[in-house]
């Protein structure tokens, strides 16, 4: 996978994919080691464990979902693909973890606490790792974004890769350089044009932009409404447990996923068309469209979850009276498992779509374009590896994994395998089907772009997980949090059982007084660093002006020297007039030599003598 052929942006993409495989594997190890391993150890050793209380009220009634009687084969396939049936009561889903405490010989292991802390741990670990990886790219991005600092010099002086040995690659590099230069120059011209706009033109443009943004918002609202209705329909059909046709059942199960995928396919095309009327500069157009697509993809998961929760917390009896048990226990005796199943389905469907698109769209496209010579094939052209869309796909999958791991602890393992396979699928399709992109992606900023989008995904994943842990009552029929009202309650309970000094300290940290003062101190630190950065910028500007002035001083002095020498030469007619000119030239050369000689330390003196 040579950078000369496809560009360094593609390399960054694949290293990003490798990073995600590793991240998912580490998250899986974390969940496995903290939650599943103690349970497995205990069933094979001498420690004993107490289970959560799963009897008593009507809330704890959890009908088994294993199919009985004569089961048709295709039922197993539906169960495998949607996590119901025989998969539901396994380690795959939250509902199976009904261990409360594990008593080893020397200490007790609080499984609900471990479950909660493992969730926080993997979110925090992902945050820290991504931030660490993006710090290097951020520094360069900051430097580069400042007034397009040196971007032209970088392209011209470091633009040519001297390692290129292939004629085709050289031609490609030349054309991509030409394209980049032309785009940048055009961008600058457009910026100039924007700055020159009159007041009337600006009003008109802002009005157009307002209207188009409203249009975009209505499109998004429409998509979200479709997702909401699809989810509700799918949930109702599932609870009715009708079993008509194999294909129809599968489609009903996967209806939200299908709607989300369709939305994610159509909306970028519409955004591409809309942005052209909004008259932004080309670089901003690309970034803005990308932001809209990111928002669409991640918010659709949020809408799905929101519609699920509206179903879960909505009881049919009365709207004013809150649900007994805190959630709709008749339809969802174990709602976390249901949410986990939806996330599982989303992930499986995402994987199927990526593989199917590669196999059924990209390979035939390559075959048609190479063998068929009609106009349609030429217009369609060979597939280009579009980096932004591919990155969005991966970030979408990773967000699903982050949200779903709380409800389905084995999901990171599935995600690891999925990204591992996708890595090789994408590699094969890149080699066989794609031609190098005409619009090259700059490597030093693309790393930062990938990690920034991933960070947005992580932020959007924390919100649903946080809300469901803190707000929604945990199921009383399954899972480790049966004895607590919400999943969060484990922590205050454990803290209250700690020795008084420690628990008082923890209470003090979580009190309002501490939070407010911490916030104030953070704000002060931030203002200090902003002021420092501003001061540094001013010093840099001052130094630049000083250097320019020194250059002018030098020229002024050289001029004076020339004049003085001319006067001297005219007073002494015997001296050859040529000497004054050559001495000035020698002066210029000697000053240059002085600059250069320090650099030639490593070179053998024989060759440096040629530098004349």
């Amino acid at each position: 996978l040579s950078p000369g052929k496809f560009g360094t942006g593609i390399l960054s993409y694949f290293s990003f994919l490798r990073f995600l495989v590793l991240l998912n594997f580490i998250i899986f190890l974390l969940m496995f080691g903290l939650i599943i391993l103690p349970i497995i150890i205990v069933s094979h050793s001498s420690a004993n464990m107490t289970f959560v209380q799963q009897y008593g009220s009507e809330c704890t009634d959890y009908p088994s979902s294993v199919r009985r009687g004569l089961v048709l084969f295709h039922q197993y396939i539906i169960d495998l693909l949607s996590g119901t049936g025989f998969l539901e009561q396994t380690y795959l889903f939250y509902g199976y973890y009904n261990v409360d405490l594990v008593r080893f010989s020397r200490f007790t292991y609080n499984v609900p606490l471990a479950y909660l802390l493992a969730t926080f741990a993997y979110l925090f670990l992902s945050l820290v790792w991504i931030v660490k990886r993006s710090v290097a790219g951020f520094k360069q991005n900051l430097v580069q974004d400042e007034d397009r600092f040196q971007s032209f010099c970088n392209k011209i002086f470091s633009g040519w890769d001297f390692c290129i040995t292939d004629e085709n690659a050289a031609k490609l590099k030349r054309s991509s350089l030409l394209y980049e230069l032309r785009t940048d120059l055009e961008e600058e011209r457009i910026k100039q044009k924007i700055a020159d706009r009159t007041f009337k033109e600006r009003c008109r443009i802002y009005l157009i932009r307002l209207v188009l943004n409203l249009f975009v918002v209505t499109i998004l609202a429409g998509c979200f409404y479709c997702i909401y209705r699809a989810t509700i329909y799918s949930q109702e059909r599932q609870t009715l447990k009708l079993q008509t046709n194999f294909i129809l059942d599968l489609i009903v199960e996967y209806l939200p996923s299908i709607v989300i995928t369709l939305g994610n396919f159509i909306t970028p095309l519409m955004f591409d068309v809309i942005i052209q009327f909004e008259d932004y500069s080309p670089a901003f157009e690309i970034r803005f469209t990308l932001m809209r697509c990111v928002f669409m993809r991640l918010a659709s998961i949020g809408v799905l979850l929101f519609s699920l929760w509206s179903q879960i917390t909505h009881c049919e009896t009365d709207d004013t009276v809150p649900c007994p048990c805190g959630y709709n226990h008749q339809l969802y005796p174990c709602w976390e498992s249901r949410v986990g199943q939806e996330m599982y389905k989303l992930m499986i469907f995402d994987f199927i779509i990526i593989s199917a698109v590669t196999v059924f769209v990209e390979f035939p496209r390559k075959l048609i374009v190479t063998h068929c010579d009609c106009g349609l094939a030429k217009w369609w052209g060979q597939q280009e590896f579009a980096i932004p869309q591919n990155v969005l796909e991966i970030v979408y999958g990773q967000t699903i994994c982050w949200i779903g791991t709380f409800y389905s602890p084995l999901l990171p393992a599935i995600s690891t395998i999925k990204y591992f396979i996708i890595f090789y699928i994408k590699k094969v399709t890149l080699m066989k089907n794609c031609r190098p992109a005409t619009r090259p992606f700059r490597a030093s900023s693309s790393n930062f772009f990938f990690l920034a989008v991933l960070l947005i995904g992580l932020a959007m994943a924390c919100v649903p997980v946080g809300v469901s842990i803190a707000q929604i009552s945990s199921s009383k029929a399954c899972g480790p949090f049966v004895n607590y009202t919400t999943s969060w309650q484990v922590l205050p309970q454990v803290v209250s059982e700690l020795p008084t000094g420690l628990s008082e300290f923890l209470y003090a940290i979580s009190s309002e007084a501490f939070a407010v003062s911490f916030f104030v101190v953070t704000c002060l630190a931030m203002f200090y660093f902003i002021a420092l950065a501003g001061a540094h910028k001013r010093v840099v500007n001052q130094l630049r002006e000083q250097l320019a002035m020194e250059g002018r001083d030098k020229r002024f002095l050289i001029q004076k020297l020339c004049q003085a020498q001319k006067r001297l030469a005219s007073r002494q007619p015997r001296a050859a007039p040529l000497s004054s000119g050559s001495s000035v030239a020698q002066y210029q050369y000697s000053s240059q030599n002085r600059n250069n000689s320090g650099v030639l330390l490593e070179q053998p003196p024989a060759t440096s003598a040629t530098h004349a």
């Binding site: 002086f157 470091s158 040519w160 040995t165 250059g551 600059n595 490593e602 070179q603």
Partner: protein, 189 residues
């Protein structure tokens, strides 16, 4: 190919190792490639020169738009015809190797880009540089207006003392802030 004349004597080898950034294997590989370019009679003499055309036939230099400038810069021949002796060739590889310091690389880059050899990069040098990068045919060249805009931008970014040319210190300053330079300015045999 086993005559003793085409083998490198050990003392010369260690001397070259000291004076350049290359490792022993790289020097031996360079020696092999260099002697392949010489004719049979020339191989007898240790200081024979290879003409520019033969050097430009090497696969590493064939596609490089700066190949002529590279040969002219590293050549030490009196008639400035771009022919390289073996020591010139080692100099070339050493400057382009991975272990060369950024100062060395930027120094040589400056000399390569200085098409008229006057010690500074003025507008004409920069124009020739851009044309080398984009290709010299009519459809790959920038228009005159674009060229003017581009060169003004470059000078604005790199010309600190505002004298209309980029001298070596300014060039090295710009290169030190350039993240891609060290990775792209290398040739490995």
């Amino acid at each position: 190919m086993g005559t003793s004349a085409s083998k490198l004597p050990k003392d010369l080898l260690s001397e070259y190792q000291e004076l350049t950034f290359l490792t022993k294997q790289e020097i031996l590989l360079a020696h092999r490639k260099f002697t392949e370019l010489l004719s049979r009679e020339e191989r007898q003499f240790p200081s024979s020169r290879v003409s520019m055309e033969k050097i430009l036939s090497l696969p590493e230099l064939k596609c490089n738009p700066f190949r002529q400038r590279i040969c002219l810069v590293f050549s030490t021949s009196e008639n400035k015809d771009g022919s390289l002796s073996f020591e010139d060739f080692l100099d070339l590889l050493s400057a382009f190797s991975d272990s060369a310091t950024p100062e060395i690389k930027s120094h040589y880059a400056f000399r390569i880009f200085d098409f008229d050899d006057d010690g500074t990069l003025d507008r004409a040098d920069l124009e020739k540089l851009v044309n080398c990068l984009t290709g010299d045919t009519d459809e790959t060249r920038l228009s005159a207006e674009e060229m003017r805009q581009l060169i003004s931008n470059i000078l604005e970014e790199s010309d600190i003392d505002k004298d209309g040319t980029v001298n070596l210190s300014e060039f090295q300053h710009v290169i030190s802030r350039s993240p891609d330079f060290v990775g792209s300015f290398r040739i490995i045999l």
